[in-house]
Symmetry: C2
Subunit: 629 residues, 2 copies
């Protein structure tokens, strides 16, 4: 592909002028002068000029930062951080009573795989779900206000909630699987040397309330102590099913680097979640463990099947039609395409090559449509809705574009003919995302490569380098590299959706505020002693004053502030920092939040608005007087 | 100014091709066809293609996020977050023993004004200093590894460390002033109704060790309870001096929005820090308060002078020559230029218009060079080193470019002639930055406008909007708007420096590792009982294994992990997450860090590498076995 990069030396005339001039020049028939125009024909740019908006939201998982990062496409600019598992004083998250309670005892999470809610197999713009691999939780973010609304967990019996969060076509469930295995119930001790015997993995069906989005663990399926990796949910013919790959079917418990890479094939799990639901509904002799119905797939036929996959696989992705299931083994240079139709036939015919702990192992040859030689180190596959698949190659640091079945005879005889393009990314690519790839109708157009090691590619910021993303235009026959940007550690996957699918609110409307201690009139605010060591403050924030702006308490008092931001104007956020009291609230317009401190230090402590609000923002302050005991 | 924006509809051909084609077209003499080329002549672009690097580092203060954000110029892409006052599990910050100790009892900060270290009045690329307005601290970041090395504070006698951190020309001091006043020493209670009588402000000289950068409070100057706002340090003729504006010379203690906007003029403080140093060195009858020598400027002549400034000023900035001091009053449409030479003459001649609490108030007319009618709501001024100043206009949402003195007769007779250009930014601009503006030789070229309210300008992310920055090309006669990007809350100021001034390391070299519990050979690692309830683990992380990968302890043990990442390869970071133990370490190559947990929950808890490291990263794990008591 013919590629031209702008020189590092700044051009004498900015690009938008060039564009303008070029548009003037176009009619003059000069197009033929550059060989570049043909190959670049139809390729879009990533530049979104000041005042213009991006076309897509991109929701990155934030990895061990514990958060979600929201970027715009095509610019790749980060437009928001959504705090989920980690306190974030810039948003007052982890300082308000509500957010503290939601976070429980943990102050971080390891966010791996965001999943957008769906209706009829397409994104409905309601919620974003994310997992915490470390502390075995899932969270729900509302896309009405981009706020975390619920954190569920630690999920019982579940350790290493990595194969998560995969959303079914009508958001019936989040399906989540364990990366680690432990003796169950959690808290049981057994030596790791007894791993095969005493340790187990779990697949959980997290039930989603269709109205409120409220999550609860519906049921669990016990698995051997394989390390479940990534998964996806079925659709169309495979609706009702979900798929995970596993590494470590060796069931090694130490030096996994060596001991979990022994077998030539590992297993994927094909789980029939509709059947699991049925087992639970019919109460088919189930045990409950920690309050959750626990299904042993050996005892309940039809819940789980194993399918052999390439060595040490990472991703398994269902195509938009739901018929083709693509799994990649990172230590084998092919992506295997399973035909779900053949899989159904195989289980009907009991075409099994064996069983493992009572779970049938489907005959590999009966279900494989083909092995596409995508290149070295294939990990994950995304789909553009035009019959093409795109697989990330970790070892080659590339993305391979290939055609989904049905294949012509020439291709089936020489599977390399299925590969139609390949593009280099800087090493090493992990995940990649195409808008809507996991829906029945992907939006296509763009592919974002999430690269794992940058090693001096950007400005040097010392021994800890940022992560990088690259934007690839996939709207033409050939992929084209357009833009590169950086993120904090560490995106593992992302979801992208056209802007018009999401419809966020601008302010919290006064009439919807149901906080019992909300106040809207300065006359109803005040400081009240509500116990021998307890003071309650009803406070209002508005440009550019707090009511009241003096709060007098006794040393040792527990002081509860109910702060209402009575603004109804977009972006008119007020902060609430108390000097030397380790407190920073952030209250968006129309919201009421509750903050509590213990006034253990006597003296005078200013409180002030920490979030810029107006020309007189600096004057928005008050005093907490703590009288000595 | 003639401005053209690219249509939102993506152009059929990407801009870099257009640029290429345009360069082909140039010789054909078609340049005259577009009226835009003249006005845009010489203007650069912000696009940094994949694989290219930015030209400048931009260090944003992170406001109430508590961190520093590092971006590249001209792309505006964020390239790193430096955690300072807030835990950041993505960097393991706030989880290691060292970082926890450094943060003390606080889990957030309010970072306002970063200051780069200087040698001979120019940036030397060694350190970045930042302040915490909320908890009255300053921090030092090393630009060798982009890590926070020291947090000093809470500073004694100091409340609301906002007028901070201003670095003297050879990094002798950080000069910091209080925004809030309280009864001293801190911890004393007095009713705010006695504000004028009992409350005081403070200017502190934070002494910097020239070799190590270690900070300590050297001396303090007591001030009336004015709210000190922003400041700057002198250079050249004004070397040895520092300047702050104040709002609230009314000394109001409530409803500041109204009560602190009564007077037509407030005061700037001109502080002679060399004289303060001399007072302390000569021990001129000083009191010490909380261990710090406290100077009463009424008793020590020559330490502090007041200069009347425009109503409710915000910024005061010394020009590159050090002669012109520009102060802006946000409620008056002019920027006042003081002549430091005239100021020196005035104090020599005792040309005072009065005194306030024993501090001389210099005769305004004697020191003012001129009032430049920059426009509505002027806040801060930056300099390009070419004799031009750029002032942010909060109310007009613009930047005004104006000429520094000396002015010709025509200009002094009509000061509006000093104004040479004005550009709109989207509302509302607060700070702005030009690379090197506070040095004696600014680098110029770019100006970044930090805007405060975006109100629906970007993709809607709900009631909490991100902050925006805009990149303005100032290399030509007329300013030109180039690019826009977003940040988390909330940059208040920034510093920018050419990339080659900073020389960060790639890895921590083994030979420099002085951690007493570092280990480099798996044979020297292990788990040791070091007390009845204490276990010490010496552990190594390398691709893709921990040594040891099994740690057995008793329930209730305090377990200390000394983890050495023995890699010496760039970007080869290893994480250390312990499932359900609220622990995530991040150890860059060659570093050793110490983590402590109390093993209060029995059971088996996997630990694993949370920061992607290799193809077998997923296999990098081990088990913490906690045997029940």
């Amino acid at each position: 592909m013919f590629r031209i990069f702008l020189s590092k030396i700044r051009p004498p005339i900015p690009m938008r002028s060039l564009t303008y001039l070029f548009l003037l020049v176009l009619p003059l028939g000069l197009l033929g002068c550059g060989g570049s125009s043909a190959s670049d024909d139809g390729a879009p740019a990533s530049y979104v000029p000041p005042g213009e908006k991006d076309d897509y939201y991109l929701f990155y998982s934030g990895g061990h930062s514990g958060q979600v990062f929201v970027a715009g496409l095509p610019s790749l600019r980060e437009i928001q951080e959504i705090p989920v598992f980690t306190p974030s004083p810039g948003h007052g998250y982890g300082f308000s009573k509500k957010s503290k309670k939601m976070m429980g005892e943990y102050r971080w999470g390891d966010v791996h795989h965001p999943g957008l809610s769906k209706t009829d197999g397409t994104y409905d713009g309601r919620w974003l779900f994310v997992n915490d691999n470390a502390n075995n939780r899932v969270a729900r973010i509302s896309l009405r206000d981009f706020k975390t609304k619920q954190i569920l967990g630690p999920i019982p019996n579940s350790m290493g909630n990595h194969g998560s969060s995969f959303v079914t076509p009508n958001t019936e469930y989040l399906l989540v699987a364990t990366r680690f295995s432990v003796p169950l119930p959690k808290g049981t001790h057994a030596p790791v040397e007894t791993y095969e015997e005493n340790f187990n993995g779990i697949v959980s069906g997290v039930d989603i309330d269709p109205e409120t989005g409220e999550m609860e663990v519906g049921w669990q399926v016990k698995t051997p102590p394989f390390n479940w990796d990534l998964g996806s949910t079925g659709k169309g013919p495979s609706d009702g099913w979900a798929f995970w790959t596993s590494y470590n079917t060796e069931m090694a418990h130490d030096s996994l680097e060596i001991n979990a890479s022994q077998r030539d094939r590992d297993y994927a799990a094909f789980v029939n979640w509709e059947r699991a639901e049925e087992v639970v509904e019919n109460n088919e002799g189930l045990n409950r463990r920690n309050g959750v119905p626990l299904i042993d797939p050996a005892e309940h036929e039809g819940v789980m099947y194993f399918v052999p996959v390439s060595k040490s696989p990472h991703g398994i992705d269902a195509s938009p039609s739901g018929r083709w299931i693509a799994a990649s083994g990172k230590l084998q240079p092919t992506t295997t395409v399973f035909d779900f139709k053949q899989f159904k036939t195989a289980i009907e015919n009991e075409d099994f090559q064996g069983e493992f702990r009572g779970v049938p192992v489907v005959n590999y040859d009966a279900v494989v449509e083909g092995e596409v030689p995508v290149g070295q180190g294939p990990l994950h596959t995304q789909f553009d809705g035009e019959g093409n698949a795109y697989t990330s190659l970790f070892i080659e640091s590339s993305v391979t574009k290939w055609k989904l079945p049905p294949w012509d005879k020439e291709t089936t005889e020489d599977m390399s003919k299925a590969v139609t393009d390949k593009i280099s990314v800087h090493y090493n690519i992990g995940h990649l995302v195409i808008p809507g790839s996991d829906t029945k109708e992907p939006y296509g157009n763009w592919l974002v490569a999430m690269n794992k090691l940058q090693k001096g590619r950007g400005l040097n910021v010392g021994p800890e380098k940022p992560e990088t993303s690259q934007l690839i235009d996939i709207s033409g026959e050939e992929m084209e590299m357009i833009e590169e940007d950086y993120t904090r550690p560490e995106p593992h996957f992302a979801q992208a959706v056209p802007a018009d699918v999401i419809n966020p609110i601008e302010v919290y409307k006064k009439e919807n505020n149901d906080h019992p201690d909300a106040r809207w009139d300065p006359e109803n605010t005040g400081v009240e002693r509500t116990g021998p060591d307890e003071v309650t403050v009803h406070m209002i924030a508005k440009r550019s004053q707090y009511y009241p702006d003096k709060v007098e308490v006794q040393q040792g008092d527990k002081v509860t502030f109910h702060l209402t931001n009575i603004e109804q104007v977009s972006d008119m956020i007020h902060g609430f920092g108390i000097a030397q009291y380790n407190m920073n609230g952030v209250v968006p317009p129309g919201d009421t939040q509750t903050f509590t401190i213990t006034a253990d230090e006597a003296g005078v402590y200013p409180f002030y608005c920490t979030n810029f609000c107006s020309a007189l923002h600096q004057e928005m302050q008050g005093y907490l007087e703590v009288k000595p005991r």
